[in-house]
């Protein structure tokens, strides 16, 4: 029989991209990001029992990860160093990833001009989530998501005009 821990580990391995992407969007450096990844996984495990099968596992993971990211914003300003995991490394900031880091920096520069609500919506939109699913995760109606997406596109366009 598969234990709860084994089911959890399989789920995390299958969806680890979600965790890394959310952490990348809400942090500005690799150490802070790794710290957030640890925290998201810890909170996902703590609340794994509360996951009901009504929504998709990925939807639930986005929701938890984005909430944890907001709480993390409060704490990360205190500049506390991450507690490293014994004998293991989570750091994926190596030579091969310098290109990734640079792209991420430019991407973040653009997306950080949006407020936290729009930032979350855009991230889910970029993840090809439907308006219904975005609404479910964010906690607003799908029509509101549509209206906001329209405004976000305008904001981004205005930003380009300003910079031109």
């Amino acid at each position: 029989m598969v234990s709860k821990k084994e089911t959890f580990i399989t789920a995390i391995k299958e969806h680890e991209g979600i965790i890394y992407k959310v952490a990348s969007i809400y942090t500005n450096d690799v150490h802070d990001r790794n710290d957030l990844v640890q925290e998201i996984i810890y909170q996902l495990w703590k609340s794994f029992d509360s996951f009901n099968q009504k929504s998709r596992l990925s939807t639930w993971m986005y929701s938890v990860a984005m909430n944890v990211a907001i709480y993390h914003l409060k704490k990360s300003r205190r500049k506390i160093a991450t507690v490293p995991l014994d004998g293991q490394t989570l750091d994926f900031h190596d030579a091969d990833n310098s290109e990734y880091e640079e792209k991420l920096r430019v991407f973040r520069q653009q997306i950080n001009r949006l407020n936290l609500l729009d930032k979350g919506i855009v991230m889910l939109y970029l993840e090809n989530k439907s308006y219904d699913e975005i609404g479910e995760i964010v906690g607003i109606s799908s029509s509101n998501v549509g209206t906001r997406m329209f405004r976000i596109k305008e904001k981004l366009r205005q930003q380009i005009t300003k910079n031109a």
Partner: protein, 198 residues
């Protein structure tokens, strides 16, 4: 960069993240045991130390209150006790704020509302804290000169000129600094709340 450009960059980044495996069973298992509270204790040290200092000062003033032999010194003692008590409470409130557990059952919008509201409250608390600290500084100078040298310096005009001029300069610079430093953060928090209410 328009939304389509953002999407292209995002897709590229996603491909990179999805092709790399960062986590294995052992790392995930370790993370589920990770005691975040131990880290929180380290984060909370400044607040804990602050509370102890305030309480130690409070106990000292209370125990030596009988030495304050004029009405003015007694009033200063009472102000010091109240300020030390208020500073302890504000530090404890900061600690409580830090210890707030992540409520994963809330939606993202609810969490954001909570975040922006608490941020505004925090900065208001900071402003009160600094004003209280200045008040404490003046009362401590008065009380300590009485407790340790048995001198009542409130009769000295130099003391009043010095404490008021320094206090005025300090508060003026501080309020300007607060306004400059926090203006954009506060505006962002308020805008976010307005946006969420829309």
């Amino acid at each position: 960069m328009e939304l389509d450009d953002l999407k292209n960059t995002w897709n590229e980044l996603s491909t990179q993240v999805n092709t790399q495996q960062h986590l294995n069973a052992s790392i995930i298992n370790e993370m589920t045991k990770h005691q975040y509270n131990t880290r929180l204790k380290k984060i909370a040290y400044p607040e804990i130390i602050g509370v102890f200092i305030c309480l130690a000062g409070l106990v000292y003033v209370v125990l030596h209150f009988w030495e304050l032999n004029t009405a003015f010194l007694q009033a200063t003692g009472i102000v010091a006790i109240l300020v030390l008590l208020l500073l302890s409470i504000t530090s404890l409130l900061s600690l409580q704020r830090l210890n707030t557990a992540v409520d994963v059952n809330k939606t993202y919008a609810e969490t954001l509302k909570d975040f922006a509201t608490k941020k505004i409250q925090f900065y208001k608390l900071q402003k009160i804290n600094v004003t209280l600290s200045y008040l404490l500084l003046v009362t401590i100078i008065v009380l300590f000169s009485k407790f340790f040298s048995n001198k009542d310096i409130t009769g000295s005009k130099y003391f009043w000129i010095f404490s008021f001029s320094i206090g005025y300069i300090f508060l003026m610079f501080y309020s300007k600094w607060v306004a400059k430093f926090y203006r954009s953060t506060l505006r962002k928090a308020e805008d976010l709340l307005n946006d969420l209410a829309a």
